[in-house]
């Protein structure tokens, strides 16, 4: 599957990489949907023998392929939110030298990265690979509500209902891009929504 080429952007916008197996005895993978493909691409029996995979399919059907890799631990979560307690527990148990790998959508990678950073792992030590949907996790700067999986610009805040435009300014702490009222200087004049990368 071809990977999406994100256009060049400002310096707060995250740059995603390509997963590479690193040496070490303990490996934690968090992936959603098409992110499974990135794990399948790096998996070796050796790596999997020390791996814990937390996978949220979100409608994709890669769970069986991941299970077939025979990782030391495998968890299929019905949603990212439902997997967070387990992820926190895994990070709390983290041994020195735990390698963290994140793959899939920006929203899930960003949130899992914030958990890992909160557990004391520097963000620069965490590997990432974007796969699948390019939808964004957006924070409304006005009401602070998060709208998940935003595909268009502008979009409607799921909490306060304002029409927001999609900025590239990104907060790692919040794992979200910033949304700002699009018609603040001309109330009611809301442009036709278009795909974010159109």
């Amino acid at each position: 599957m071809t990977k999406f080429d994100f256009p060049p952007s400002i310096k707060s916008r995250p740059v995603w990489g390509t997963l590479q197996a690193r040496p070490g005895r303990h490996h934690l993978f968090v992936a959603d949907a098409e992110g499974a493909q990135a794990i399948l691409d790096v998996a070796t029996p050796d790596l999997m023998a020390g791996s814990h995979i937390i996978y949220v399919p979100r409608g994709a059907d890669h769970a069986d392929a991941l299970r077939a890799l025979e990782p030391a631990q495998f968890h299929e979560g019905p949603s990212y939110a439902a997997s967070v307690p387990r992820l926190r527990r895994a990070l709390q148990d983290a041994k020195m030298g735990l390698q963290v790998y994140l793959a899939g959508t920006e929203g899930v990678m960003g949130q899992a990265m914030a958990e890992a950073v909160a557990a004391g792992i520097p963000h620069t030590a965490i590997q990432t690979e974007h796969r699948g949907s390019t939808a964004r996790r957006m924070q409304c700067v006005h009401c602070k509500g998060i709208t998940e999986d935003v595909e268009t610009d502008p979009f409607v805040c799921a909490h306060c209902g304002l029409n927001l435009f999609v900025r590239d300014h990104y907060s790692r702490r919040l794992a979200a891009y910033q949304g700002v009222r699009v018609d603040a200087e001309d109330h009611g004049n809301v442009p036709e929504p278009r795909g974010i990368y159109e």
Partner: protein, 356 residues
């Protein structure tokens, strides 16, 4: 001189005004007839008597009303003041810096009595007389950074220094030029500056950061920054932009002189002793076009700067749509005469406007 504190508002009915004293000491940010970003930093070692550079933390006639406005913002949105857990010591450093500086620079307004760790702080303009134990959080009504910055004009960013970078890990931000502390909290120098046009490509942020990382205790630095604001609204936050954005469309050729304000930030940089953090006070001064243009040099120059500013900067600063109306207004104050170098008003030496 004794300061007459004004009773005024920065919202709703906007009763904010500058006295003649405040106009003439306004930190006009243009030292020549054009403007572009640069690494415009210098030592903060005082300045001409009465100027905003003279004291470490300038106190002016707007002090009491600005502090009332800050309290209103915080009551509505406590997230304007945040401090990550490792920043508490830096908060105490900041409290000490401000208390010592203000009590030395304005002894008739502020007094600090220290008996070991027992400190008594008297703030006469705000009617505060508190005794507390230095470095003991439980003896203050707020965290140390919040406590002292509720009593000090200007926003404050407290930056942790690590990995050869600065990290915005604490702040009190209620008079900002349209950026969000809640959003930027935890970012590094390059990340929080990401939305600024041109300056990254010009290498300005790399050089500026290098300068900042080397600031030593007792050797603070400063720079000026500016933007435009319609109405003397201190809280031009992104949080409330859905409410105040529309005010930009209320300018008319008749009201622009009174409504349009040049917004100038006196930004200073101090190294803090115990935490090795850097504190970045951002002090906002507002002046209406009508008042600014009473200084003939400033009227001439402001017209030229606004006229020639690159469109990316006018867009980023949020006044590109109003620029034509601004220029119509300002052109009356530009008779084409040359201007003297530097930011000072030069009232004695600059010729009055030649009406024409």
């Amino acid at each position: 001189m004794t300061i007459q504190f004004r009773d005024e508002t920065f919202r709703d009915d906007y009763t904010f005004r500058n006295s003649r004293w405040a106009i003439e000491r306004f930190p006009f940010p243009f030292h020549e007839d054009s403007f572009m970003y640069s690494v415009n930093m210098e030592q903060h070692r005082g300045g001409p008597a009465g100027s905003v550079y003279e004291k470490r933390f300038d106190v002016d006639e707007h002090y009491v009303s600005e502090m009332r406005d800050r309290a209103l913002v915080l009551a509505e949105d406590p997230l304007r003041c945040q401090s990550l857990p490792h920043m508490t010591l830096a908060g105490w450093d900041l409290l000490e810096l401000i208390m010592v500086a203000k009590s030395e620079d304005y002894p008739d307004l502020f007094q600090l009595h220290r008996d070991g760790d027992r400190w008594r702080w008297v703030n006469r303009p705000l009617g505060i007389d508190d005794t507390f134990t230095f470095l003991d959080d439980t003896t203050l009504p707020h965290g140390p950074m919040e406590y002292i910055t509720r009593q000090t004009q200007g926003d404050f960013c407290v930056l942790d220094q690590r990995d050869d970078n600065l990290w915005m890990d604490a702040g009190m931000v209620t008079t900002q030029a349209d950026w969000s502390l809640d959003f930027d909290l935890g970012m590094n120098f390059f990340e929080w500056h990401a939305p600024v046009p041109k300056a990254h490509e010009m290498g300005i942020f790399q050089r500026a950061l290098k300068f900042l990382l080397n600031i030593q205790q007792g050797a603070p630095a400063r720079r000026l920054n500016w933007t435009m604001t319609v109405n003397p609204l201190l809280d031009t936050s992104p949080e409330n932009y859905h409410r105040w954005g529309i005010q930009k469309t209320t300018l008319t050729p008749e009201n622009i002189g009174r409504k349009q304000h040049l917004r100038v930030e006196l930004q200073t940089f101090f190294r803090l002793p115990r935490s090795n953090a850097l504190v970045f006070p951002i002090r906002c001064y507002l002046c209406s076009f009508e008042d600014l243009t009473t200084v003939s040099k400033w009227g001439r120059r402001l017209h030229r700067v606004v006229r020639d500013l690159p469109v990316e900067l006018a867009t980023y600063k949020g006044f590109v749509d109003n620029r034509p109306m601004m220029l119509d207004y300002l052109s009356q104050f530009d008779d084409g005469l040359p201007t003297s170098p530097g930011i000072w008003p030069d009232l004695e030496t600059e010729p009055p406007l030649r009406m024409g």
